[in-house]
């Protein structure tokens, strides 16, 4: 199994500068993209039941090793970091392509797992993109993944209910945020990570990719500009003090303004 993960700024830490209305990024702690943690847990549960090896794969700067190490402390066997200056600025096309080539180089696999989307870009396009590049069957938005009689069964959460899809291996599965409880890193896992030697680092050339297919050059899309949506502070009536008092003031204000339900 190969699990594709990304390191993203912690969602709770995302703060917008009240003056410049831009994202505060400097010094913001990062984490494994939350849906990817659920994908890791799916892989670990499949391994608990059926055995096999799990490889975590990420693409990004060397600081992403942190996330690979955390994945391995959770129980992932080894990891691959695809890191190259030429990859910077890639949109979902070169990202999917580069991950596909890395998976190709990893060799034989049964299932590729990804989170449904990342919390920093929220496209959900890279998983299906990898399946497209590698010409594999795909089952997206899964809340449950089982192997039944040699086939993969994924329960997809769709707008009007759940669909169960079945496909042969090898295949690609994307996993929904919140579908399981990702395990914590174990002590033995941490020790294994500390001994080192589990992360393989590849460059774009290592996976056979020419620089013009990558990064900004290889991306069909560009972000032309970003407008900040300035949400006017609503300047609300905020009551402070003893609850018995503030509640009366609030209810009075709500009823004065004919707020629905009050």
């Amino acid at each position: 199994m190969v699990v594709c993960i990304k390191q993203v700024p912690k969602a709770q830490e995302i703060q917008v500068d009240p003056v410049t209305h831009t994202l505060k990024r400097v010094g913001v702690p990062s984490e494994i993209n939350p849906p990817d943690r659920h994908a890791l847990e799916v892989a670990l549960q499949l391994k608990d039941r059926h055995g096999g090896e799990i490889i975590a794969l990420t693409m990004g700067p060397t600081v992403f090793t942190q996330s690979l190490e955390r994945a391995m402390a959770m129980g992932v066997d080894r990891a691959v970091l695809l890191s190259d200056r030429a990859l910077g600025g890639s949109d979902t096309v070169p990202t999917g392509l580069a991950l596909s080539e890395a998976i190709h180089k990893i060799g034989k696999f049964d299932i590729i797992l990804c989170g449904e989307e990342t919390t920093d870009s929220s496209t959900g396009h890279v998983g299906p993109g990898i399946a497209g590049h590698l010409d594999l069957p795909q089952i997206t938005y899964c809340v449950d993944v089982q192997i039944v009689e040699g086939k993969v069964r994924g329960k997809r959460a769709v707008e009007d209910g759940f669909e169960v899809w079945e496909c042969p291996m090898p295949c690609l599965v994307t996993v929904n945020f919140g579908c399981n409880k990702p395990r914590e890193p174990s002590l033995s896992g941490k020790i294994r990570v500390k001994r080192g030697g589990l992360v393989t680092q590849w460059s774009a050339a290592d996976v056979g990719l020419a620089p013009e297919r990558l990064g900004l050059k290889g991306s069909p899309t560009v972000v032309n500009r970003v407008d900040t949506v300035v949400l006017p502070a609503r300047g609300g009536k905020i009551f402070k003090g003893e609850p018995s008092q503030t509640v009366i003031e609030l209810v009075k204000a709500l009823r004065n303004d004919k707020i629905a339900g009050v």
């Binding site: 496209t123 959900g124 299906p128 707008e159 069909p220 500009r225 503030t246 204000a253 707020i259």
Partner: protein, 334 residues
């Protein structure tokens, strides 16, 4: 420079259980507007089985030409054969714009197709504009909804995008509107159908749908400290006639099911009244509720971001405030 022969605006027409999906009717409306501005035809692609009636309906909604691919095995959405239909027809007819509804299936499909064709795909767009250079300015929320990113795909065609559900207005039907329906053949192989749908279970309680349609939403957050305390939220919700929701942290902690999560990775709600109980107001949460009519916040931290967004609020310990509030609402003149 983009290939000069590319012409026309396309929409992916998603049929589901014998009906054209709402989001498809919405992108017909927006696709029509873009096609008119570019002075080209609007076409639709509809894979399915016995869906000619739906193709005629799409024409009445404003599509000039529907490419219909009928095969019994296309009755339900499946990634591989549907992607093959799109890729085959895009290569054959070379549209300059292709829009998908950002349903789960629309994103699943677009993600696969854009990788095979190697062209740009912007996710979850909320607005489109045509530039002087005849590019489509594809505008989508970024940074948890605090910014709008303008995405341009200048040198590749088609320019593809998915459109967020319930943002664009539904197209209106013109009974008797004329258009053409073109049957297309796609050479499928057995392996295109290696995936099958084994089961479909329709959501019964429709509580998810209820949350998005609710006039009043009462949401609980991490400040509730544990699952049992959510009964306070329940009680308040009953009193004000609201649907219950939760923040990501509360869902993350396992106190409440994911279907009730409001925020960037959950649902977007626009109720008349939104109660935020013990929710600090992380950007990703605000992204899912900032368009609410009136926001009422209860939080012990007076510096919590939620108070900036609030029309009303109480700074205080929710374990004291909420019971008092319940008492007050029960007590008088209702």
């Amino acid at each position: 420079m983009p290939p000069p022969e590319s012409k026309g605006v396309w929409v992916f027409l998603e049929q589901r259980r014998g009906r054209l999906r709402d989001v498809s009717i919405q992108i017909i409306g927006e696709g029509r507007r873009i096609a008119d501005e570019m002075k080209v035809a609007l076409s639709g692609v509809m894979p399915g089985w016995r869906t000619e009636g739906l193709a005629r309906e799409a024409v009445e909604y404003g599509v000039d030409k529907v490419y219909l691919v009928e095969d019994q095995r296309l009755e339900n959405y499946l990634s591989r054969p549907y992607a093959k239909v799109m890729v085959t027809l895009i290569r054959k007819h070379k549209p300059e714009v292709v829009l998908y509804g950002a349903s789960k299936n629309g994103r699943d499909l677009g993600g696969r197709v854009h990788a095979i064709i190697e062209t740009g795909l912007a996710a979850d767009c909320v607005k489109f504009e045509v530039t002087k250079e005849r590019n489509l300015d594809m505008i989508r929320p970024a940074y948890g909804g605090r910014s709008l990113a303008h995405i341009i795909c200048a040198n590749h065609r088609p320019q593809m995008a998915s459109a967020r559900a319930n943002v664009f207005k539904r197209a209106t039907k013109t009974p008797g509107r004329q258009g053409s329906i073109v049957r297309e053949q796609v050479d499928f192989e057995d392996r295109d159908f290696d995936t099958r749908m084994v089961e479909f279970v329709e959501s019964k309680g429709q509580q998810g749908a209820k949350l998005e349609d609710a006039k009043v939403v009462v949401a609980g957050g991490y400040g509730l400290r544990n699952q049992a305390n959510f009964k306070m939220v329940d009680e308040l919700a009953k009193l004000v006639g609201g649907s219950v929701a939760a923040s990501r942290k509360a869902v993350d902690a396992g106190w409440f099911p994911k279907e009730y999560q409001v925020g960037q990775t959950g649902k977007t709600v626009r109720p008349e009244v939104y109660w935020a109980i013990g929710i600090s107001g992380a950007v990703q949460h605000l992204a899912g509720m900032q368009e609410s009519g009136r926001i009422i916040a209860i939080n012990s931290d007076q510096n919590a971001a939620i108070f900036e967004m609030a029309d009303y609020g109480i700074v205080g310990d929710l374990f004291h405030v909420v019971p008092e509030l319940v008492k007050a609402l029960k007590g008088t003149g209702r």
